[in-house]
């Protein structure tokens, strides 16, 4: 969502220090993407890990949304004035908020292992099961779009982090 602008590095220039907040966003969002990929692969993780991972992702997404709430407000205000790419990103993010929230909420309601392990009984029902399946499929389309719309920021920060690490490694030798 919110990104810190970073000019492209050249091989000759010393890479700029990457701000703590940018590093936090980069690694936190990276871990979230990996966790989401694992959680979606139910056949790989098994039901127990799938459910606990889903609950963890729910908490992490709430933190993700909180960390980028400034972007939500700023872009929503600008939306009427400016169109184009910002509007597309805003719409994708809104769709993702709706589908991901419904997917996690319905997942909790149809949970068979996680709720049982903490001593609660799940609410069942075909509505929640179908909603979980449908929204999960929608998120699989929206999550990569959400990530890819920020590919320039990801490449730029990734390059800076990597070159700084390389430099530190060379110095230590």
């Amino acid at each position: 969502m919110e990104t810190t602008e970073a000019p492209p590095d050249t091989a000759t220039r010393t890479p700029r220090r990457v701000p703590v907040r940018t590093r936090l966003d980069f690694w936190f969002d990276g871990v979230l993407l990996v966790a989401y990929t694992l959680a979606y692969s139910l056949g790989f993780t098994g039901l127990a890990i799938h459910e606990w991972l889903g609950i963890g992702i729910g908490v992490a997404l709430l933190l993700h949304l909180t960390l980028h709430w400034d972007w939500v407000l700023r872009t929503s205000r600008r939306l009427l004035r400016r169109g184009g790419r910002d509007r597309l990103i805003w719409l994708v993010n809104l769709a993702l908020l709706l589908t991901m929230t419904l997917c996690i909420a319905s997942g909790v309601l149809i949970s068979r292992v996680a709720l049982y392990q903490i001593g609660l009984t799940a609410l069942g029902g075909p509505f929640w099961t179908t909603l979980h399946d449908t929204t999960a499929k929608l998120t699989l389309g929206l999550v990569p779009v959400h990530v890819a719309l920020r590919w320039r920021w990801i490449v730029s920060v990734g390059r800076r982090l990597l070159s700084r690490q390389k430099q530190a490694w060379r110095r230590s030798r």
Partner: protein
């Protein structure tokens, strides 16, 4: 303080979406998603029936990773990578066109 305010706002947004979902589940439109069986979606599963389901699920799926089904993980990763590649390619092409137009002007 600012973080708490933003967290409260984010919580409110998420709660609103969940409330919409619950309202949908209880409306007559619920059958549109899950068929006529969804008329009473919020039924409690009987405790002993639920315990049987959980035990069977844990026995069948196991508590840990089932690396034999890594095809599932690869399938997810391939779909994500394909969608990302399409979006990045479209974005790069759009950028290239814009630059060319600017250079021509």
């Amino acid at each position: 303080m600012r973080f708490a305010r933003h967290l409260a706002a984010a919580l409110l947004a998420v709660a609103a979406v969940v409330a919409l979902g619950v309202a949908w589940a209880h409306s007559s439109e619920a059958s549109w998603l899950a068929g006529p069986a969804a008329a009473h979606p919020a039924r409690f599963v009987r405790a002993e029936q639920h315990i049987r389901i959980v035990r069977a699920s844990l026995r069948d799926n196991g508590p840990g990773l089932s690396l034999a089904s890594s095809a599932d993980l690869i399938h997810t990763a391939v779909i994500e990578a394909a969608v990302m590649a399409v979006v990045v390619a479209a974005s790069a092409a759009r950028r290239h066109r814009r630059r060319a137009r600017r250079a021509a002007a």
